[in-house]
């Protein structure tokens, strides 16, 4: 009995000592961050992106990332649900404009301008850190890129083989029509089945040239109308592109995803698209295949601004918009361990090393200054294109509500199909704008 008591006492001492010693051994306190990532599994750069996150996790054992990975509409639907429930993830991916309107309008993201500070942000290009380029007029997110939505991808070889130079003016484009059309080649292609490409990749630039940002500001403030001459004239340019045979009316039946293959197959001399589309032509690291081989990218293709148009008030401007980026939940307590961990993650994602990876996969040209990477020729043309075309204008779907630009998108298709006129489309857009404004009140 006595022996048992001694044994029990020894056991108790051992257990208590073990517990005390265990408690003394300091384990790093792990902070959990809920992250909502926007990731497409079949896009070039997917595997690199997976590694970016794995590397962070390995290098930061004191931070546990709870990742939710979605893409396209499901991502936005889930973000809306989180916003409605007031349970935003700690770190999430955001658009600067109306696509993420709820985040900006309800101020669900922290002001990164204040949180990251001027000293950190000085390493980013000026348009990226301008709060006026975001819907809520504060820095809810830090744009990773500044995207030009209007670029002419020119097949120089095809033009040269047919005796043409790279076009500079509308007249140059028009002069190519007879010869190329006879060979079954379109002068320019703009696949517009999805509605948005014409508005985003061409019309915004045309409207920026003919009307300008001040005109659209005046519409918003009620001192101008979509039915005014500059806007109608802009629509008339689109109409004449079809009438003159520069764009084929059949483009309205071509899906956006089908464009690159048709362009590379020589169905058109010029593809009108956004700068993000370079990624579709370069080598996919997973498969090792490229739509345009690197050597051919350099010798046979060029990125050019849309040609000069007669009567343009703002020559050379191109539509551009701040790209997507990361945001931190406004509900993260200021100065908390979670906020510090989230800032560490954000700084990692925007670091020169990670931005160089993004640049290298053709995802975008970073807003972080001085980022270099070994990229294929087509991607390396993008920063040069930016430098050569510094004057930008609004992308209409970034400046107006979907209730307005969806009507414009449909109207542009109708002009292409010859079922409407610039005047009618302008009147419809104005009506939609007035309706949206009345509802907003």
């Amino acid at each position: 009995m006595k022996r048992n008591r001694i044994l029990f006492a020894l056991l108790a001492v051992a257990v208590v000592s073990g517990l005390l010693l265990g408690g003394c051994a300091k384990k790093p306190k792990v902070v959990t961050l809920k992250v909502m990532n926007y990731q497409q599994a079949d896009q070039a750069g997917y595997q690199e992106d997976v590694k970016v996150w794995e590397d962070f996790q390995k290098a930061n054992p004191d931070i546990k990332l709870e990742m939710e990975v979605l893409f396209n509409d499901p991502y936005h639907a889930k973000l809306q649900a989180y916003a409605a429930a007031g349970t935003m993830p700690d770190v999430f991916y955001v658009w600067p404009g109306s696509r993420s309107a709820v985040i900006h309008e309800k101020k669900l993201a922290k002001d990164l301008g204040k949180l990251l500070g001027a000293d950190y942000l000085k390493d980013f290009s000026a348009p990226a850190i301008d709060p006026n380029n975001q819907l809520g007029k504060y820095m809810a997110m830090l744009p990773q890129s500044f995207t030009y939505t209007s670029v002419m991808y020119v097949n120089k070889k095809l033009l040269k083989d047919n005796g043409f130079e790279v076009p500079k003016t509308y007249a140059d484009l028009k002069a190519m029509v007879p010869k190329l059309k006879a060979k079954g080649i379109a002068v320019a292609m703009l696949p517009n089945k999805d509605g948005w490409p014409m508005q985003s990749c061409l019309f915004s630039t045309v409207a920026g040239r003919m009307a300008g940002d001040k005109f659209f500001d005046a519409i918003n403030s009620g001192t101008a109308k979509f039915t005014d001459k500059p806007f109608v004239d802009s629509l008339a340019v689109i109409e004449s592109l079809y009438k003159d045979g520069i764009l084929a009316r059949t483009d309205d039946n071509v899906g956006y995803g089908e464009g690159p293959a048709l362009f590379v197959a020589g169905k058109a001399a010029i593809m009108i698209d956004g700068d993000w589309r370079t990624g579709a032509y370069i080598t996919d690291k997973a498969s090792g295949k490229a739509l345009i081989a690197p050597a051919a990218q350099e010798s046979d293709f060029a990125l050019m601004p849309f040609v000069a148009i007669a009567g343009e008030a703002n020559p050379g401007v191109l539509s551009a918009v701040a790209g997507t980026g990361w945001a931190l939940s406004a509900s993260l307590p200021a100065g908390s361990a979670q906020e510090k961990a989230a800032v560490r993650l954000i700084k990692y994602l925007y670091s020169p090393e990670i931005q160089a990876i993004r640049f290298g996969t053709g995802a975008y040209v970073p807003t972080r200054k001085g980022v270099t990477a070994k990229v294929e020729p087509l991607v390396s043309m993008v920063p040069t294109f930016y430098a050569a075309n510094p004057k930008t204008c609004y992308v209409i779907d970034g400046a107006f509500d979907p209730a307005v630009y969806n009507v414009l998108n449909s109207g542009l298709i109708a002009i292409g199909l010859k079922t409407s006129t610039p005047e009618k489309v302008a009147a419809e857009v104005q009506k939609a704008f007035e309706g949206w404004k009345a509802n907003k009140k």
Partner: protein
Amino acid sequence: MSEEHKTTFWGAVGGKAAKSLAYAVMALFSVMTLYPIFWLAMNSFKTTREFQVSQLGFPVAPTLANYKGAWEFGEFAKLFPNSLIYTALSTLGIIFFSLLAGFAFAKIRSKATAPLYGSFIIGILLTIQTLMIPLFLEVNILGIYNTRLAVLLVYIGAGLPTGIYLATEFIKGIPSALVESARIDGAGYWRIFLAIITPMAVPVATTLAILNITGIWNEFALINILVSRTELKSLPLGIFKFSGSLSTDYGKQFAALVIGMVPMLAFYVVFRKQITKGVAAGAIKG
């Protein structure tokens, strides 16, 4: 040729023509249904480059790399078992509760029957989109967000309005005398439900199974908002990772779609007789 012969001749020609036309129309619809499946499967064996060059031709050098890539990137090994669990348990739940409620509404009448039945039936008119945010808030408040329980409860709940409607209308057709005589013989409601109603309601149960198995297997919108952990997601969420408008890798995208489609095709091939019978029985008696 006599008038009678003429009539017979033209009647026979007309009959053959009508039959040929009917077969032609059916063949057309068969092609319209089967060709997209065939096209998808065929292109899933091409590299993206080959697909971009030839969208209609047979694969020159068929590859299984798309399937391997889609399986790995889509994390289908995690999602597949979840789809099976959600589909099987939700369908069983919907059938069980629909028959139970259908029995009560059809055979155990009370003052509460009409309002209760109406409260279920109104659910048929509600779209998933209108329910998404309220459901998300509810599962958060209940503390079951990111659990399989939330998915199962919502799936069963979403399937009940149609299920109860079909089950009630079907069970109404079962003679009440059977229920009454069983009651006289001393059987309780549970006994009557299990021994009389359930065996007789197999056709409507089959109809419910067909409707729900395909519906839940392909369901995307609700599970997207109910869970965030990959370990709890289902196959459609994995497939959607390959569905971008700016997509560059069509091969993997098609392979992912085929992977999601194969179990449903297998389900049809194995149970096609029961499915045909079930649809017919459910349609006629329901």
